[in-house]
């Protein structure tokens, strides 16, 4: 059902000024989850006007901070805001550089359907997610648009992950894509603060292995006394706690000898990766035999290094209590507080 007015003005745009507020200031029950999406809450009058305009669906908007000229794009979730107000997710306020109650220009916009997206997690925690594809698919459902240089937030498993958009395709002047009803190829940049660990460590390990074979390979004495077999049997005996055989009611004996896999797949034991927690077995060597090829337990890190991470951790509740009454200890240490005490000794001493 086309509106006659709209039909005459096909390029007419929705354009209005609003005061922006964070989601948390919205009336009604708290809806924290809206912070982790890319949709805004507009007043009902906006819907009224939008419905009379000839705009493309889904409704997408360009949000602009007129003072700084920062622009981002978003979808709309509901039209329940008070008149003149718009509610935005926190990350959006941050990327527009807006505070609560400031003016924002909202225009309707048309964006291309995205085909490619390159994002960069803002912390290495993101690597701990076991299935990032599923997490992203699920949380990007709450978004309609993605704009380059925005740092959006998703919530997963009680943890908030900030993710920056680095690149979108197809490229356009708006540097933004619509992610509704589309398949997008996603590429990841290494998270901020991520250090590539593998090449360096493998080089050093190879170097140490080649120079000091005694650490990682069993020596002649270990072979003589069969130390590796001892340890292997120790760890195996600890692994195979539930040994034994099944019995058949029919009385026929079981044809399969149990656990051939165990004996075949006997691990190639070297002293390097022997478990220190395997139960100790008797080491009965003849008197006068010494053996030093025990698994090497690396030195604990030095105590100086221990202090550093503690300091870097944020100190919660790190303030100092203040007492109106000058305590006895402080009285002794500082001359000034002692003078205070002399002035009004009786009044202060009473607890």
């Amino acid at each position: 059902m086309f509106n006659l007015h709209a039909f005459h003005n096909p390029n007419q745009k929705f354009h209005d000024y609003f005061r922006c507020y964070p989601i948390s200031m919205m009336a009604g029950p708290s809806r924290e989850s809206l912070n982790y999406g890319g949709k805004i809450i507009l007043p009902p009058s906006a819907l009224d006007r939008l419905s009379r305009l000839n705009i493309t669906y889904p409704m997408l908007f360009e949000l602009k901070n007129e003072f700084s000229g920062k622009i981002t794009y978003s979808g709309v979730l509901e039209f329940i805001a008070e008149e003149g107000r718009v509610y935005l997710p926190n990350w959006m306020l941050r990327s527009l550089g807006l505070g609560s109650g400031e003016l924002i220009v909202i225009e309707s916009a048309t964006l291309m359907q995205g085909s490619f997206l390159k994002i960069q997690p803002q912390s290495t925690d993101f690597l701990d997610i076991s299935d990032p594809k599923a997490v992203l698919e699920n949380s990007l459902r709450n978004f309609s648009t993605l704009t380059v240089d925005d740092i959006f937030e998703i919530s997963y498993n009680d943890h908030i992950y900030a993710i920056k958009v680095l690149e979108v395709r197809p490229e356009s002047d708006s540097h933004s894509i619509s992610v509704v009803e589309t398949d997008i190829e996603v590429d990841f940049a290494p998270p901020v603060g991520y250090v590539e660990p593998t090449p360096a460590s493998s080089v050093s390990a190879a170097a140490s292995r080649s120079i000091t074979p005694a650490i990682n390979t069993p020596g002649a004495m270990a072979a003589t006394i069969g130390y590796n077999d001892m340890l292997a049997s120790a760890s195996q005996s600890s692994l195979s706690s539930f040994q034994g055989q099944g019995q058949r009611l029919s009385g026929r004996s079981r044809s399969v000898i149990p656990s051939p896999a165990h004996t075949d797949a006997k691990p190639a034991t070297t002293t390097a990766h022997l478990q220190a927690d395997s139960p100790p077995l008797p080491l009965n060597l003849s008197y006068g035999t010494f053996f030093f090829g025990f698994p090497l337990i690396p030195l604990p890190p030095e105590t100086d290094n221990d202090d550093a991470p503690e300091q870097s951790e944020p100190q919660l509740f790190a303030g100092v209590g203040q007492s109106l009454r000058a305590s006895r200890k402080r009285k002794e240490s500082g001359g000034q507080s002692r003078r205070v005490r002399q002035h009004s000794a009786d009044a202060i001493e009473v607890d």
Binding site: P218, P280, P282, T289, F292, L299
Partner: protein, 561 residues
Amino acid sequence: MILRFRGRDGTFRIDLPADATISDVVQQLSLRIPSAQPSTFTFSDAPNRPGQLATEVLSKTVSDLGLKHGDLLFLAYDSAGTGDAATDTPDATNASARPAGPAAVSLSDLDKKLLAIDGRIKRPRDPKFCKHAANGMCEYCSPLEPWDPAYIEEHKIKHLSFHTYLRQLQHQQHSEVGSTVTKFLSQPFYGVKKPCPNKHAPWPNGICSKCQPSAITLQQQQFRMVDHVEFASPSIINRFLDSWRSSGLQRFGYMFGTLKPYTDVPLGIKAVVEVIYEPPQRDESDGLQLTLPWDDEDRINHIASECGLVPLGAIFTDLTDAGNGDGSVICRRHANSYFLSSLEVCFAAEMQRRHRLKIPFAENDEFSSRYVTCVISGNTKGEIEVSAYQASAAAESMLDVDLIEPSTDPGQMLVKLPQSGSDRYVPDIFYRKVNKYGVGEQHSAKPAFPVEYLIVTLSHGFPSEPQPVFSGPGAFPVENRGYIGETADTASVKKAVLNNALNVSSVSDFHLLCYIQSMNILDEEGFKLLVEFATTHEENVGLKLESNASWQTFVMILESS
């Protein structure tokens, strides 16, 4: 008629016809006292009086001897099995069976010296509390006993010295050392007492609370038998390490030296190592095996004692190059791994059992040992460092009754559980440890417990001004190092001894002395002179040696070879 016989096993009534002979009496008595030897029966009519040997009057009848119905005779005899001659009275038998009264061992010179020291810790006048004049004394400035608990707490003393411990025990017993010898030291015993004082069948057929060993609670030993190990000169260690440096294989040696008082610790003892003798062994990079039995042991001990040295302990290397190219080594032994592996603790305890300290204050005149075990390994900075340990007296005693065995985990000692058919008794063993909440809690030591409970750490060091007994250049090949091409032969002796005129530095080398002795050219007197010259460094002994006939022969042989 009835005759009564009173002996040490009780009174026996024997019913006899009037015309019975003494042989009948002996026959009946031997049935009643199966433990007695019938040939040693003696009768007397009063106790403590030498009696009549029964075998001499076998054919006589009872009435011939004038015995009447109801007479009481005193009987003495030897038990079957003892080969002693017949004794007259039961009392005399008992008296002779008692062990000899005086102590069999005497104190060593070192112990005598330390017992003579007052040993109390002198304190200056306390400016805070002392109210008296400068030459007065009060409770705040009187000397402290060396074992004073507050002093130990204040100075963080981990182990008392042995003589401090002796005095503490003495104090507890209120007895005086030197005047009366009391046996207040006792090596713990963890086995079943045999025979049991309750007179039941011996273990494993019976056990009771009297013969059963009580539960063992392991704790760190309060004292140490030796406080400090001093290497008379750094070159001793250097020379020992040379074998590892040139081969990369570990090395073992026996340390010989002297025990001396150590003044840095109250009543302390230090072991001054003068030489490391390397016995025959098969070395590997990750272990070593001594070639046992060591045939030369007695010969080397004899030469050492001629030099005035005693066996002090064992030393071995556990070194692995870290591969940094700067001579640093891997640190295997640290607080998170182990200091002395369970295998080495058992070795140390066994060596200590073979070198017991003879001291008259101990039951059986033996107590623990002053034998030390040194490890050369990498410290936390990757430097080569010596550390010295002893196994505790508890470790020796546990090894005595075969309670422990080493395990594949070096930090854990296994409790050897009894197998069926063996008559070992394993008591309950516990150890106490402070948990993460700072509360001491008791753990069962079965199946394994940390070896730290069985070792005692000693300090070690080098003197600031080395005055080693053997001051030679140390160029003579060390024995049993054939595998790295170091072999002693006549040529090397010739090179060492005849380099120039005979002087101390050329012969003052234990390894050289041992080799010369094995050549069997010098006679006893010549060798004694050589040893004296090498150890005392006195010129007139050297002159005597030069004029000794067998030495001249020896030199002649060397020159002509």
